[in-house]
Symmetry: C2
Subunit: 349 residues, 2 copies
């Protein structure tokens, strides 16, 4: 049993963990371990938004960003997923990860100019959402150590079994900064117009979660149980956050279906959401009826199957400083991502 | 909105609350407020244990303790409840409350001698379980401010709406000592034989919860929903704690039905349980399947009924110092109360 906080990020505490030192979690979980030399990771979401069937322009945009990813200083890992949003638009999001800010910086300007630097064209919207957190500001969690997803693909290894999980508050306790900082949000998001682009300037301690499930290994009975008993409840919670999340501090939520290299749906999905604070995410997860239902359904599922469960679960959670964020939208409808968090009248840059 | 911790018990913190200062609970709750002059409360459980139908000796014992309660320096409030335990014995427990340790001390020795001072007789067991916590070591919570139960009957008043509730960790945050102390348990319970009596000497930071529900005001539809949808799930959780609680730190659990002055069941019940630590109680409440089901059923019930719900809920939770505890058993079976927490071979006093 080891701490989720790697030893080189352990500091003298001014804030306590939520569990006693002898706490023993009831089942195993694992976290991604970076080499100590990694001080920052970058998570960059590049979105294409369109209505109806994908056009040649959509395919071209997707090919364009994939080519950029494959170029010099491109991400160490990327994946792609899509979903249909509350306004009926399809959003295809290519998510890319770096663990070297210098490489990302060398790569980003050109990619950004290509992606959001022009004018809206061909009926498609484009957006860029980037966090570049210090490693003390993020955490991961995996139900199995043998298949990394998302930022964890960049990691040096998976940990052994960690202590800080399977209790409310574990998410916070896994973030190294929680040793000394309450990570309270400061300020309100605002929009800044820059020609045809709109940037959103959010605030200190904005929170991002990507929380995924992979049912590709499940067999008949388990698969049926996941698809019939768990997935609908999960979807209901995701829809609530998408449609009514703002009132409880969820600026935006996307329930994404991962696609393969040819754009075909895989048996992996994830919810990706932007939150005013880690505390707001904690409150929803712990006590909102929609997540209590998800938690209940997941618990029943895992209790029924026990260690034989083939469903894989993971997440990554970041609490970003104000200067670790970048949001830019071009030709997107006004409830896209962090645009949904700001008044519709915007300042000019 | 006020803190659950009364102003005269607020201290410089070395430990943080689990919620930010701007946390707003989604529904109101209330706590008992004692006069600042009250520095300690006493909760004394007097049990009669028998198998089969109650005999004249049972009635006599119950009348005897009631007469003691009515005598000089008797409790400010008491109530009575019964349950059938895992060994098939009926236990009638008279629970008495004081807010003046001098009065309790003046009263207790005689009552104790009468209750457990003799030898087992007439086929009945008797037990005494007492906590006498400093007011910094206990908290209450009520869903409505207009009907006190348990120790709260002694209070000067109910609070206004308090902030620290409706999140996991609220129970701890309402206990004044949590401002500066993790309240970790130290040591293991042991039994000491004193003639025919067995005393249990537990350990620092033992935890007691009495958690009650009152459905006497509910009308047809709500009553049916409580009795059909909530109560069976609650009972299942109570049975789990009673039968299998020790492995998760619950030394003993009693799911009690409150009785009236004539011994007839009322429409009130409570769970009363002894825990190794507040942390163990937190873990069960937050993540054990049996309590997750209770929480889910209660949440669905309250979501369906909203503010019109007539069900009343309350609890009182104490984390007692080692010298604030007293457990004594005479002629009881060996899984009675804290006897279930100790090896069956006992030291002599």
């Amino acid at each position: 049993m080891e701490s989720a906080i790697p030893s080189h990020l352990q500091t003298a505490r001014s804030r306590h963990r939520r569990v006693p030192d002898d706490y023993a979690p009831p089942y195993p979980s694992f976290v991604a371990r970076h080499k100590p030399a990694v001080t920052r990771v970058i998570m960059a979401y590049f979105g294409v938004q369109y209505h109806g069937e994908p056009t040649a322009a959509v395919a071209e945009a997707l090919a364009q960003i994939a080519a950029r990813f494959a170029g010099d200083n491109g991400p160490s890992h990327w994946d792609r997923a899509h979903y249909v949003d509350q306004a009926g638009f399809t959003n295809v999001v290519s998510v890319s990860y770096w663990d070297d800010a210098a490489r990302f910086d060398a790569w980003f300007d050109g990619a950004r100019e290509t992606w959001t630097g022009g004018t809206p064209a061909d009926g498609i919207g484009r957006f860029i959402e980037v966090l570049r957190p210090d490693v003390a500001r993020y955490e991961t969690l995996f139900s199995s150590p043998d298949r990394a997803e998302g930022v964890a693909v960049l990691a040096d290894a998976m940990s052994g079994e960690v202590q800080e999980h399977a209790y409310w508050g574990g998410m916070r306790d896994r973030i190294p900064l929680s040793q000394t900082d309450a990570m309270a949000p400061r300020g309100e998001p605002r929009a800044v117009r820059d020609g045809a682009r709109i940037r959103v300037v959010a605030h200190d301690n904005l929170c991002l979660i990507r929380s995924g499930q992979d049912w590709s290994d499940t067999e008949a009975a388990e698969r049926k149980m996941y698809l019939d008993d768990v997935e609908p409840v999960l979807r209901e919670g995701m829809d609530f956050l998408r449609d009514d999340g703002v009132a409880i501090g969820c600026y935006a939520n996307r329930y994404m279906q991962v696609v393969d290299g040819a754009g075909r749906p895989t048996e992996k999905s994830y919810g990706q959401s932007w939150w005013k604070s880690l505390a707001a995410l904690e409150r929803w997860a712990e006590s909102h009826p929609t997540h209590v239902k998800i938690f209940g359904a997941a618990m029943k599922y895992l209790m029924t199957l026990g260690p034989s469960a083939k469903l894989r679960l993971y997440h990554e959670v970041t609490v970003a400083a104000a200067d670790e964020q970048f949001f830019e939208y071009l030709g997107c409808h006004d409830r896209t991502g962090m645009l949904g968090a700001v008044p519709l009248t915007v300042d000019s840059a």
